[in-house]
């Protein structure tokens, strides 16, 4: 099963690149998605808000700036959220794209709904079930090989697999099995974003494992191309991928802030699980308000005056 990302088809395969990526529109989108996630948090408990906020720009960039689609709207590339507890980021992007419905998210973690707290294979737009850390990258290797086999049969270009891992996942042995193996198998159609927010639920990763840093060097030592960047700067994310070595897998080590966008959540471990109370919620909405809110749809963050490319898919 592959995702259909569009209800509106476009004229040709598109490879979005840094030059075409509308960063200010993306910033508006991400603010709107943060507001939407906070809105959900008022109805649903334990939704992993801060881990979703740390990877939101990365996930938005992958869908809007990197993944290609066929003329019929079918996604040609694959996205796997290996840090499944960031599901709200992916759900919000998929809702914004029209792949998931508003009702899908409204009933998330509700007995009448079909979405849980982690991505489930079979849900709209979800390519693999994740939730237990360290599973996404090995599965991604298999998808990369499958896409290479398909492209060999069709004499075409192998589709790319984009994966988002957390820095906590770098403590899992299975992650390093796959990191070691990918260049050995000459897997080239793989881009891994490490959401380097610096925390696991128990505290700072740098305290747990001082020797994990610098992360990019570990990937390079295993034969990967690795690029450091700011995980909330979407231009820097797309530029990193634009400079990908076509022969090697790429690790984009993206420095992020857990709880990015809401001042009191930033780098506070308790927001790994907690939902804001009503006054905290209001404060968060004020911090995430649009400078010119009249020009925007309050839910999608799209500007009615200037339709952006991202709105097509």
């Amino acid at each position: 099963m592959q995702t259909t990302l569009a209800t509106t088809s476009v004229s040709d395969e598109i490879r979005f690149g840094a030059a075409a990526f509308d960063v200010s529109a993306a910033q508006r989108r991400c603010r709107a998605m943060r507001r939407r996630i906070l809105e959900l948090s008022q109805r649903l408990p334990a939704l992993h808000i801060a881990p979703a906020f740390s990877c939101l720009e990365i996930v938005d960039t992958i869908y809007h700036g990197l993944m290609r689609q066929a003329p019929d709207g079918r996604a040609l590339d694959t996205f796997i959220l290996s840090k499944g507890h960031g599901a709200l980021a992916q759900f919000a992007v998929l809702e914004q794209l029209g792949v998931m419905s508003r009702a899908d998210l409204d009933t998330c973690c509700h007995p009448d709904g079909h979405l849980g707290g982690h991505p489930d294979y079979g849900s709209p737009g979800i390519e693999a079930s994740t939730g237990s850390l360290g599973h996404g990258l090995p599965m991604a290797l298999g998808i990369c090989l499958a896409e290479s086999e398909r492209s060999r049969a069709a004499s075409g270009q192998a589709a790319t697999v984009y994966v988002v891992t957390s820095d906590g996942e770098l403590m899992e042995g299975s992650t390093w099995e796959a990191v070691l193996l990918a260049p050995t198998l000459k897997i080239h159609n793989l881009v891994v974003f490490v959401d380097l927010n610096g925390y696991i639920s128990g505290g700072k990763t740098s305290v747990y494992h001082p020797n994990l840093y610098p992360v990019a060097d570990k990937f390079r030592a295993f034969g990967w191309q690795a690029i450091d960047c700011d995980g909330h700067d979407q231009t820097s994310l797309t530029k990193a991928v634009d400079s990908k070595d076509p022969l090697r897998p790429l690790a984009v080590v993206a420095k992020t802030v857990k709880g990015q966008g809401v001042s009191y959540m930033q780098d506070k471990p308790m927001w790994h699980y907690r939902s804001p109370n009503p006054s905290e919620y209001q404060q968060a909405l004020e911090e995430l308000a649009e400078p010119d809110s009249n020009a925007l749809d309050p839910n999608t963050g799209r500007s009615s005056a200037s339709p952006e490319r991202g709105s097509q898919i």
Binding site: M139, G142, L145, A146, E149
Partner: protein
């Protein structure tokens, strides 16, 4: 069995270009070597990385391929248990996990290389199918079934040198117990290579007591042929189960349950591995004997009509 597996996989691969062979440090022998030479892109050795063996196989299956993940049984399922459960079974993917040398076949290598409880562990996962053929010919039939199966499958194999027991048998039918020889006074239900011992036990009953004993291969352990086994429990005055596996979660416990549920009138003996790790580093046969499993140890127990479980008086 290894060679039969290799032959059957090779033959199936000639008809199905979706088949992949994914191994973890298993040298391609017999016809697997031919497959590797002829289809190098569909033969993948992940090295000593069993979590990635299963995760990568799940990834291939997510894109429509049909991988056989092949290594020694204990490595194939115990180290990557969570990948088997989450990546393969939870996503209900057509991955065949091939466990070679199951049971206590690698007797001198110690319990790290044994699977005393693999049928119980694999059968307990939703969506999983479990097959354990008794001889090389049945292995070939099981492989051809697995190649066309649409969900997760654990194929429990022996090692090498197993005799052929099914030359005169009914055809292999998935999900049905298979009569290897007819009988009337007693019936032995078994699976895997220890079915040879079941045949020898039946021979001894015939030779020494004149009791014509039937033998069935219960090659499909999940879904278990409860209808066929219930008929056996009703038809024969003496029913014996024999397995190279602990009783809990194995065939013996399930047949006992079925006997109770169907108010079976027969005497029932369930022979299995003991619920302990035995530090005996001898031959396969010697370790079986240490568990109490040999014709000479079993025969006196079944030939005495006052022994055995008579569940309903």
């Amino acid at each position: 069995m290894r060679d039969a597996f290799a032959r059957a996989f090779y033959d199936a691969s000639q008809l199905n270009s979706k088949l992949f062979m994914v191994v973890a440090d298993i040298s391609p022998a017999s016809k697997i070597a031919n497959f590797k030479t002829e289809c190098p892109s569909r033969f993948i050795d992940v090295g000593i990385a069993e979590q990635t063996l299963i995760g990568l196989s799940a990834g291939l299956a997510l894109r429509g391929f049909k991988p056989f993940a092949y290594t020694i049984a204990n490595f194939a399922i115990y180290r990557p248990f969570e990948q088997v459960r989450d990546d393969v079974c939870y996503q209900n993917l057509p991955v065949t996990i091939v466990g070679m040398g199951a049971g206590i076949a690698y007797s001198p290598l110690g319990a790290t290389h044994h699977t005393l409880e693999d049928v119980a562990v694999m059968s307990s996962i939703p969506n999983m199918t479990v097959l354990a053929p008794c001889d090389p010919a049945e292995t070939e039939a099981a492989v051809h079934f697995a190649a066309g199966h649409t969900g997760p499958l654990y194929l429990r194999l022996g090692k090498a040198g197993e005799p052929n027991l099914t030359a005169q048998a009914q055809p292999f039918e998935f999900g049905k117990i298979r009569q290897l020889r007819p009988g009337s006074g007693a019936c032995v239900l078994s699976y895997g290579p220890i079915t040879k011992m079941a045949c020898d036990l039946a021979d001894k009953l015939q030779a020494e007591r004149g009791i014509p004993a039937a033998v069935y291969s219960v090659h499909t352990l999940k879904p278990l042929d409860t209808t066929g086994i219930a008929a056996v429990l009703k038809q024969f005055p003496l029913v014996v189960t024999l397995e190279e596996h602990v009783e809990r979660g194995g065939l013996g416990a399930q047949v006992k349950q079925l006997a109770w549920e169907t108010a079976a009138p027969c005497r029932l003996h369930t022979f299995a591995l003991q619920d302990r790790f035995i530090h005996l580093y001898g031959s396969h046969q010697q370790l079986q004997q240490a568990h109490g499993l040999s014709v000479d140890q079993l025969y006196p127990q079944i030939s005495n009509p006052f022994q055995g479980t008579s569940l309903h008086g």
